[in-house]
């Protein structure tokens, strides 16, 4: 068998031999059993040493994790379905020609790819590689986390129709994403918005990685979970901590001020980086203390821009682009939030 790697295509994945597969599988099962054992053997009395507040911190944080985990998995499964199992180029061939309608359609693509905002970055990269313009890709990146069935369902579950939060989130997300796409479509040289490395990748056509679809699905699931779950766990811990540690008076004062509440929750959204699929549940905890405009700002700004997203996007876009993006999206979200508060 030839051992010379081909110059343009990536080397095929190392074949997993049967013994190695069995070993890997046993390791996975052993790890699972280890966790089960820890859970079963942990003595009940451990909880007694904790004070009430600490106990509540854990209860609250754990509840966010347990609530969110199935939605995260669902999102990843759907994304895998589209990325791995749909015929190549299927989506792009069916996009309309007119620029504006094209962007509108792209912002709805989130319906087909209901994954956390983090999962959308690799997807957006792939789309640029397959011919989408930078502006269009940004529209997708910003719209998909909000305009997808899972996010809409969970937002509805958390807030119902009250205070126009659901409607504002959907409309706001749609408008801001298309605004960004339009702004960047007018940029004289869109490719300069990309990092040099990524530009180089765009210059070569990349083949699909050679592996069975099952293997790619399994692999993608593992990669996505290892990318998203740490953010989920840390975000949940922060949520629990804020609930327990921040004095209620401070929260109420901040929350009831029509201007400060918006900025406070936008700052929180930036830091928290929780999956858009389930961030409605997270912010519901603040639902009674903060004004609806602040909640809307959180729900619109968070899925678009946060620390984690910026880190992921930095692989593709220049820092200057990201700063501009943050500013524009931030201002638009703030305007939306302040507007909702004014109407409330």
């Amino acid at each position: 068998m030839s051992r010379i790697p081909l110059p343009v295509h990536p080397a095929p994945p190392r074949a997993s031999s049967r013994p190695r597969q069995a070993l890997g599988l046993s390791l996975g099962i052993a790890l699972l059993l280890l966790f089960v054992a820890i859970r079963l053997l942990a003595p009940e009395a451990v909880g007694d040493v904790l004070s009430n507040s600490v106990q509540d911190f854990f209860t609250l944080s754990i509840s966010v994790v347990i609530e969110s985990l199935p939605f995260v998995f669902l999102g990843i499964l759907l994304s895998i379905g589209v990325q791995v199992w749909l015929p190549d180029g299927f989506l792009l061939r069916h996009l309309p020609r007119n620029a504006v309608i094209r962007r509108v359609t792209i912002s709805m693509l989130g319906v087909l790819l209901p994954v956390c905002e983090c999962g959308n970055v690799p997807l957006a990269r792939g789309l640029i590689l397959r011919g989408l313009t930078v502006g269009e890709s940004l529209t997708f990146l910003l719209a998909a986390p909000i305009l997808n069935p899972i996010t809409i369902i969970t937002t509805y579950q958390a807030f119902g129709w009250s205070d126009g939060i659901l409607v504002s989130r959907i409309l706001g997300g749609f408008l801001i994403a298309n605004l960004i796409g339009w702004i960047y479509s007018r940029h004289p040289s869109p490719m300069s918005l990309l990092t040099p490395k990524f530009q180089a990748s765009c210059a070569h056509a990349h083949d699909e990685v050679h592996a069975t679809r099952t293997r790619r699905s399994v692999d993608m699931f593992a990669k996505e979970t290892s990318a998203m779950l740490p953010a989920l766990f840390v975000g949940s811990a922060i949520a629990g901590l804020i609930q327990v540690a921040v004095s209620r008076d401070l929260l109420v004062t901040l929350g009831q001020n029509p201007v400060l509440s918006v900025f406070a929750l936008m700052a929180l959204a930036f830091v928290i980086a929780i999956c858009s699929n389930v961030d409605a549940f997270f912010i519901l905890a603040f639902g009674s203390t903060f004004m609806p405009g602040a909640i809307v700002a959180f729900l619109v700004f968070g899925p678009m821009i946060d620390i984690k997203m910026l880190a992921l996007m930095r692989t593709t876009f220049t820092a200057k682009t990201l700063v501009q993006l943050t500013l524009i999206v931030g201002l638009a979200s703030a305007a939306l939030g302040l507007g909702v508060n004014a109407l409330a």
Binding site: L40, L77, L284
Partner: protein
């Protein structure tokens, strides 16, 4: 790795019937099904070496180490390129802390209900959204099945003392002191949950029992019965207080929250 921790915790809670401490019952089936699917996929991932990402230039890892490490690290391979290895160690350390913390929280600590600390923090009966939802046909309804939530809502809607003169109240909840009159009034309270424990709002029925602290402590579960009467002059903001005829400690119910 984190996925497995989360999945094991979820399934164990479901099997021991304590999932309701954390999430609303309507999510039970969905949660368990997704957890099982997730478990299958994550364990299956251990059988394969991680595929090269199409944008990565070369695979730097020893395949055996990769198979072991898949799922353990937070590294997005694209972001790793060009970074000094010092960051690599830092990221691994942070990942280890997160995994350890998650393991302790989800696998070691026993499941618990929210305590009175949260009830105080969230100011009992204050959430108008909780109280407005789905008010049962209270006036003229069958009050024998009312929970603390129903009663809390009713006495807000209809603070007329005469209305309650013949209505027996029988509720179970945990004890938490009244913010306005902690020595004479306590609440028999429970948490009303919309989606998961993080949005729990405390609701409760105020009970008038001067010196209650000598007999009961906060977080203790009690069964109380009696009737409502007008506030006899306590500094509590409530207009109606429960005059207890019968008050006894009970066990925390399997499902401590009300929905």
């Amino acid at each position: 790795m984190l996925a497995l921790i989360g999945i094991v915790a979820t399934v164990w809670l479901a099997v021991t019937g304590r999932l309701g401490l954390y999430i609303h019952p309507r999510y039970f089936e969905f949660t368990v099904i997704m957890a099982v699917i997730g478990a299958v996929l994550v364990v299956a991932a251990f059988a394969f070496t991680p595929l090269e990402d199409e944008h990565e230039e070369h695979d730097e890892h020893d395949p055996d180490a990769s198979a072991l490490a898949s799922g353990e690290h937070t590294h997005e391979h694209d972001a790793d390129r060009g970074r000094p290895t010092r960051f690599g160690t830092l990221r691994a350390a942070i990942a280890a802390v997160i995994v350890a913390g998650a393991a302790i929280a989800l696998l070691v600590l026993p499941p618990a209900t929210l305590t009175s600390a949260t009830a105080t923090q969230r100011s009992i009966n204050s959430a108008s959204s909780t109280l407005d939802q789905n008010a049962p046909a209270l006036v003229g309804g069958d009050t024998s099945q009312f929970s603390v939530k129903d009663w809390a809502l009713l006495i807000r809607q209809n603070p007329d003392a005469d209305y309650y003169a013949d209505k027996a109240v029988d509720v179970v909840g945990f004890v938490t002191e009244s913010p306005d009159d902690p020595d004479n009034v306590f609440y028999v309270a429970r948490f009303a949950v919309t989606c998961c424990a993080v949005d729990a709002q405390p609701v409760g029925v105020p009970v008038y029992l001067p010196g209650w602290k000598e007999q009961y402590s906060a977080d203790e579960w009690v069964a109380a019965s009696g009737t409502f009467a007008a506030n006899p002059g306590s500094s509590s903001a409530e207009q109606l207080l429960l005059m207890p005829e019968d008050l006894a400690s009970t066990e925390q119910p399997d499902q401590p929250y009300v929905f």
